[in-house]
Symmetry: C2
Subunit: 424 residues, 2 copies
């Protein structure tokens, strides 16, 4: 099978020519131009600026500066980089911090929210949420004595959630709603404004998990009246493996909430060495211990790239990339045993296209090991094709579909076993 030139190579080349963001691909290390990397929704590529900045950090700031490095920008990094992330998520500069992991940040905010909400005893989430979020919520509930109940909204299908589910789930017993803004399996995108509105009407607070939306589309936290958010920086923000996460707390809520982890960096005066904790004013109270500076440093140049590209332009390209992928799926993959696992409505879709196949695991092995296409896999049948607008071209989308079809047509995947690796 060959994708016809006019809807394949030629069409893709035209789209690439018109791509306002095409120059951004040169900002990343592309070691093998023939490798199609569709896993930026799991770990983003390495920005070139990060390479030189990390060398300088290690060899000059740490190696020569030693302890003095803390005065060269390390100390302020959680706030300084938080201010930059704020511009990507529609928040005020003093509403965002970079710190800890997504799990730890969610724990801090969930415990704070549940304690603030007093007698309300329900936490609402959905079955699409990243399971780790659900685990953290369960742990927060257990830590607070087990008096809260976690209610998981179900859906009629495996891709999207109806707004009407909220009417059933959110009421005057709801303390907190916690959802993935873009869900990890299907890439379903919640209407943040509407959900926040539902929740606020019922008197509930909302924590948005932005892991799969930050850097891939404009997030408008303030415009939606959002309360709290968390997110990682290693997916569409390209900050490197396990890079520190961020958290957002709306200005007027900051002084009302308290982190359960009273570390010294969240203390009013960290170098006063008082024996009793008093929370710092504002967002700083959600800091705990020292930041992992090597990993933290890699966040900044990566976020700056996304700032330069602009989230509106990123979203516009993202929509075109996923539309094109779905267009090719309809013509060349649905007939080869694949089922679309992402919303067709672009307004409800993040920057990924999930395609499902009964033999998905062997297919992704063939993609990675024989065909130089790296997707993401979620058991049992979900091949997630992450389309990061900053470095994915339309020609790559076309070529990826071509290679996937080739695997099926030539049974390339049949040489692989069903044995599962630790991580894919």
């Amino acid at each position: 099978m060959s994708i016809p030139f006019e809807i394949g190579q030629a069409f893709a080349r035209d789209l690439d020519m018109q791509d306002e963001l095409k120059a951004f691909r040169d900002e990343f290390v592309i070691a093998d131009p023939d490798l199609i990397y569709l896993d930026g929704n799991s770990l983003g590529r390495l920005p070139k600026a990060t390479v030189s900045l990390l060398r300088q950090l290690v060899e000059s700031e740490w190696g020569e500066g030693l302890i003095r490095g803390w005065n060269l920008g390390w100390w302020d990094a959680p706030r300084r980089i938080g201010e930059k992330i704020a511009t990507l998520i529609g928040a005020k500069p003093h509403e965002v911090l970079v710190a800890d992991s997504t799990s730890v940040n969610l724990f801090k905010l969930a415990v704070a929210a549940l304690r603030f909400q007093g007698k309300r005893d329900r936490v609402v989430s959905d079955v699409f949420n990243f399971p780790s979020d659900l685990y953290v919520l369960q742990g927060a509930i257990s830590t607070l004595g087990g008096r809260h109940e976690l209610v998981l909204m179900q859906s009629k299908d495996s891709i999207h959630m109806e707004d009407s589910e909220f009417e059933r789930a959110v009421n005057d017993r709801t303390a907190l709603v916690e959802l993935s803004h873009v869900t990890f399996k299907s890439g379903f995108l919640y209407d943040m404004e509407r959900v926040t509105g539902f929740a606020h009407e019922a008197g509930a607070l909302v924590i948005w998990d932005l892991c799969h939306s930050v850097g891939a589309l404009p997030v408008r936290l303030n415009a939606c009246g959002a309360d709290m958010a968390i997110g990682c920086t290693y997916k569409y923000l390209n900050a490197g493996p396990g890079a520190p996460a961020f958290l957002f707390v709306r200005e007027d809520l900051q002084e009302k909430l308290g982190s359960p982890v009273w570390g010294w960096l969240g203390q009013e005066n960290p170098f006063g060495f008082d024996l009793r904790y008093s929370p710092a004013p504002g967002i700083n109270r959600f800091l705990a211990g020292s930041s992992p500076i090597l990993s933290m440093t890699a966040v900044e140049p990566a976020v700056e790239l996304v700032q330069r590209a602009g989230t509106d332009r990123i979203r516009a390209k993202s929509v075109r990339l996923t539309e094109y992928m779905i267009f090719l799926y309809d013509r060349f993959l649905s007939s080869r045993g694949f089922v679309l696992g992402s919303p067709r409505d672009e307004r409800r879709r993040g920057s990924q296209v999930s395609i499902r196949h009964a033999d998905a695991f062997r297919i992704i092995r063939a993609m990675i090991e024989d065909m130089k296409v790296i997707p993401d896999f979620r058991a049992p049948d979900n091949i997630r094709l992450g389309l990061t607008p900053l470095y994915i071209s339309f020609s790559e989308v076309c070529e990826a579909v071509q290679r996937i079809a080739h695997i099926i047509d030539h049974n390339v995947h049949e040489r692989f076993t069903h044995e599962r690796p630790t991580v894919t």
Copy 2:
């Protein structure tokens, strides 16, 4: 003033000649050989091996390997590096994890311990503890509903704690004792075996904070019957600014305790994506979110250096370094307005010598800015001289005292103001 040759330069040179660890200095980046770095108890120097390993990590593993890096050792890092740290602290390989920050790890273990201890309602620590530990304990108590009381042991003096204080403080209401093994201000070293014994007799659990002992002296957790421990890796382990911390839980306690932060890496099967949390068997249940891999990677070569040197040899040199420093203090600094702020008994002293002075802040500014000696400062009057055996020579100890005496004799510090920087 000149320190007489026979107890100064010549004596120090002899000690350096006999130093079994002297070759280890070449394992570190020493950008300016004339700079005497006595702040390794705050941020250790950069190992040369770390420089090349980080380049490889960033440029090859992340830049080229992309998501596949997780199968190149990133995934196993918390356990693999934990096993290496276990050899330094007298623990079994499966009892130690590298994860999160010291504050977050202490929170996880303190909450776990207090919940396990049921009705016991007291937490015992001391006024010498690093305040952040006290804050985290206060936060854990608050999160669990405020029914526990934090009891802080006082001391007759500012340097050491009498064992007899424990008899007063620890009883059948004590759930948990949490102490810095080596205290941060004076470098006082607790008798871990004895304290653990006292606590166990009363039915209490103990968490040891090893921040100022790991890498500076042999810690024998198993031999002391220790329950739990936490520690950082950026001081005597030289793992870099804000590098991930570690935690230890004794084998037989692991299945009895549960972390409050139920992240997916602490889940039984992280890639099963079950909606309900079940804790992983063993120590892994104390993992939360993804590790900051850049910072994590720097821990391993640094720990390997300490392993190669051996903690017994490190301790032997450390004792000689601090003894020599105190010898010179007695002759040349006590007459210049300094007061010794560390124990004279080597069995009760870590790897630092604190000297206190009414004008300490201006003196450390003169040391750093004019005299190329970097100490550590703790308000209001404490100059901490950290003596890291892997890279500090006896000649540097002698030269540092010479330069400090010079500051006093020539009023070098008088040109500085009392204005305090953010971090020193």
